[in-house]
């Protein structure tokens, strides 16, 4: 199997999907001739023509709004929002329109769109290139929310998302585009070419939506993570020596609750980690669900490690980012509680 970066995997997913289905179209800001500021759509316009892959005006509302109209027509638009931080202008179209179209028309019209966007911090992007807005979508009935953590899953999940009959928010942790990142910004990063999850099948394959995966089995404690935090969790577990079971959620909505509950019932302890700010983050839902479903198995409160409740700062990036030390502290505390 070829090894590739997450960018190549994402591009590959769109390529395969466009190849197989004429109805798949790709557009967004700078995604056409140039191939996207992260180059995720590079070459697609050249291969499939300007009607299938094209530049959009800088209007996120319009990008999603026209995609909804196209989807109602029968196309399968896969659009890019340049950074997740810029999705808010499209929020009304996503929440009031895409998410409810099937329901309110009783299936008369449907909205199979994918909205891709780079998410998360760790690149000194400041307030407007670092946000993790997943919880603003997991509260919206009718949406699916996906966060891949490696090239293999990114390709398989994106193909699933494009083939899905409902709207999917596809959040790409930009810090992982070129390699897994364990939160140690002062150490060199491994490239995906050196990592087994950089191995990606050629052609068509899928990773199903709604299924989590146990990245590392363990007996002492369950860590629930997604995206970049999967590797931070691995580092924290390794550094503390705690035998943690690490679950990579992959899809946040709908959530694979069974995998979570089975693990926590086994370990009796649970730590949730995410980059987004703590309050009302997706970790709140996870903690609430775990205590609801595993209360009598829990030895300690479910702990959350998350971004602080401040805007994402520039200079203090590594004070803000929930790195291995902070996660490790939560692991230790949860073990000792």
């Amino acid at each position: 199997m070829p090894r590739m970066t997450m960018i190549e995997a994402i591009r590959g997913a769109m390529d395969v999907s466009m190849e197989r289905d004429d109805n798949v179209v790709v557009f967004g800001e700078d995604v056409g001739y140039f191939g996207g500021v992260f180059r995720c759509t590079q070459g697609l316009q050249q291969k499939y023509g300007k009607s299938r892959c094209f530049d959009a005006p800088i209007n996120e509302l319009g990008i999603v709004g026209t995609a909804i109209g196209m989807a109602a027509y029968g196309l399968k638009p896969c659009v890019e929002i340049q950074f997740a931080d810029y999705v808010y202008p499209a929020y009304d179209q996503i929440v009031s329109e895409a998410a409810r179209l099937r329901y309110r028309s009783n299936g008369g019209f449907t909205c199979p769109i994918v909205i891709r966007m780079p998410t998360g911090g760790g690149i000194f992007g400041g307030q407007t290139h670092s946000q993790s807005p997943e919880a603003l979508f997991t509260h919206v009935s009718g949406l699916k929310v996906v966060v891949p953590s490696n090239p293999h899953d990114a390709k398989g999940l994106l193909i699933s998302a494009i083939e899905d009959p409902d709207p999917v928010i596809f959040l790409e942790p930009k810090r992982l585009y070129n390699g897994p990142f364990d939160g140690h910004h002062d150490r060199p990063v491994t490239a995906w070419s050196k990592h087994e999850l950089g191995e990606v099948p050629e052609g068509h394959f899928t990773v199903p939506l709604g299924k989590a995966v146990v990245r590392k089995p363990g007996a002492d404690l369950t860590i629930l993570a997604y995206g970049t935090m999967v590797y931070v969790a691995e580092a924290a577990a390794a550094e503390t020596g705690i035998d943690a079971e690490i679950i990579d959620l992959r899809t946040l909505l709908p959530l694979d609750l069974d995998t979570i509950v089975a693990s926590v019932k086994k370990t009796g302890r649970c730590v949730v980690v995410h980059e987004a700010t703590l309050t009302s983050g997706f970790g709140a839902e996870l903690a609430a669900l775990v205590q609801e479903n595993c209360f009598f198995h829990l030895e300690a409160p479910v702990a959350r490690v998350a971004g602080w409740d401040t805007p994402y700062p520039h200079a203090q990036e590594w004070d803000y980012f929930p790195g291995p030390a902070r996660v490790g502290r939560a692991l230790t505390e949860t073990m000792e509680a």
Binding site: G62, T66, A72, Q93, G142
Partner: protein
């Protein structure tokens, strides 16, 4: 250099408020037949003035005059009158049904019937409207069953939308009627996307977007114009200027622009204004715009100048913000009466025939209503199940919703 004058804050105000005497004398109404009819491939820049005029066909005498006349046959005109009368009769019954507590909410079309009824006739099967809540004429003129509309309004057991939507938020793909949202403006840009899709697939279908005067202020309006202009989407972008947005007169949305059609000028999109109470004019302009779209000439922006005679909705009482007699002073008259008079002048219709038709239509509407009420009304009789509430959020019900349905015991 500094001016010592202090600034003043300007808030536009309507000419009159309750207690005052309605006065539309400052609204310039061009003579019927006086506006040119350019070829559909005209350079938009050559017809900028049309955004400030009003295309009219029916004159005071009830004759059809000028270059925009003659797009409909005698039979089509008579049918058009029936459509408008049906919509008006339907509205009256449903307003009453709401007052009787048979549903929670209703919105009528009084005075604006020509816009949606005549526009619908310019479309082909497969074309798609993205309507607001005030274009039920698209359904009626398109032959959608009245009973189905009522079932939706009643949220009853036969409601095609399973009770999930607010009354009048119809949806019918087969009838080229996109699911109404309830959020203003959102669908204007979706119409553009639908049209772009048709062009991407090299099909021949076109789309029509709909928006109210007040809602042109929304961001989606801008997005629609930007995308339509850039990709030359085969779409007709319709602005229904009925002078009011709930209690807010059109000057608040329009600002200093003179007209709503003028908004198209900055996008290089041909912008036409038309007498929205003139069935013939509406049809002629719609046909022109549809032809442009179908011929790959791109979008057209059309402003229909009309007047909202009734309340905004059953939750509204306009006497609080405008003179009660304002609608009578409205200079463009009543669309039903104007078409009726035209047919009479043409010798195709008579007062007796009109009365008789009115009675027939009332019968049809009443019998549809009886039929619908067999399936229940909002608070009585058959209704969609609580189970239906959990269906259709996704194509396939995810585990958490299945658990919740179970918890609900349904």
């Amino acid at each position: 250099m500094t001016e010592s004058t202090s600034l003043r804050f300007h808030v536009p105000e309507p000419e009159v408020r309750p207690g005052g005497t309605p006065d539309f004398s400052k609204v310039p109404i061009p003579k019927a037949g006086s506006v040119e009819r350019p070829p559909v491939d005209v350079d938009p820049r050559a017809i900028r003035d049309m955004a400030y005029s009003i295309i009219r066909v029916l004159n005071k005498e009830g004759e059809a005059v000028g270059p925009w006349a003659g797009t409909l046959s005698d039979e089509e005109l008579a049918e058009g009158l029936r459509h408008m009368m049906t919509l008006r009769s339907f509205d009256a019954r449903m307003q009453m049904a709401q007052r009787q507590g048979k549903t929670s909410f209703y919105m009528q079309h009084m005075g604006e019937e020509a816009v949606s009824c005549a526009f619908r006739r310019a479309l082909e099967p497969g074309d798609m409207n993205f309507p607001t809540y005030r274009q039920a004429g698209l359904l009626i003129a398109g032959g959608y069953p009245l009973v189905e509309m009522m079932n939706q309004i009643y949220s009853n057991e036969a409601d095609p939308l399973k009770g999930r939507q607010l009354p009048i938020m119809y949806s019918s793909k087969e009838h080229g009627f996109f699911s109404i949202s309830g959020n203003l403006g959102t669908q204007f840009v979706q119409a553009v996307g639908w049209a772009m899709a048709s062009a991407i697939k090299n099909d021949a279908k076109i789309a029509a977007g709909w928006i109210g005067d007040g809602s042109t202020a929304e961001s989606d309006f801008h997005a629609a114009l930007v995308f339509a202009s850039t990709y030359r989407a085969p779409v007709v972008l319709n602005i229904v200027n009925n002078q009011w947005a709930i209690s807010t007169f059109q000057g608040i949305a329009r600002g200093g622009s003179g007209t709503f059609a003028a908004r198209g000028l900055g996008f290089g999109i041909p912008a036409l204004r038309v007498d929205g109470n003139d069935y013939l004019a509406v049809h002629a302009v719609a046909k022109w715009a549809v032809e442009r779209a179908r011929k790959n000439l791109g979008p057209t922006l059309v402003e229909y100048v009309t007047y909202r005679v009734g309340a905004h909705s059953t939750s509204d009482d306009p006497s609080a913000y405008r003179p009660k007699t304002e609608s009578e002073a409205w200079p463009l008259g009543d669309p039903v009466i104007r078409l009726k008079n035209h047919l009479i002048v043409r010798g195709l219709w008579s007062e007796e025939r009109h009365k008789q038709t009115e009675a027939e239509i009332l019968d049809t509407v009443i019998s549809a209503q009886k039929e619908a009420e067999k399936h229940g009304t909002l608070h009585a009789g058959g209704k969609p199940s609580a189970r239906d509430m959990f269906e259709g959020v996704y194509a396939e019900m995810p585990p958490h919703l299945r658990r919740q349905r179970q918890q609900a015991g349904v």
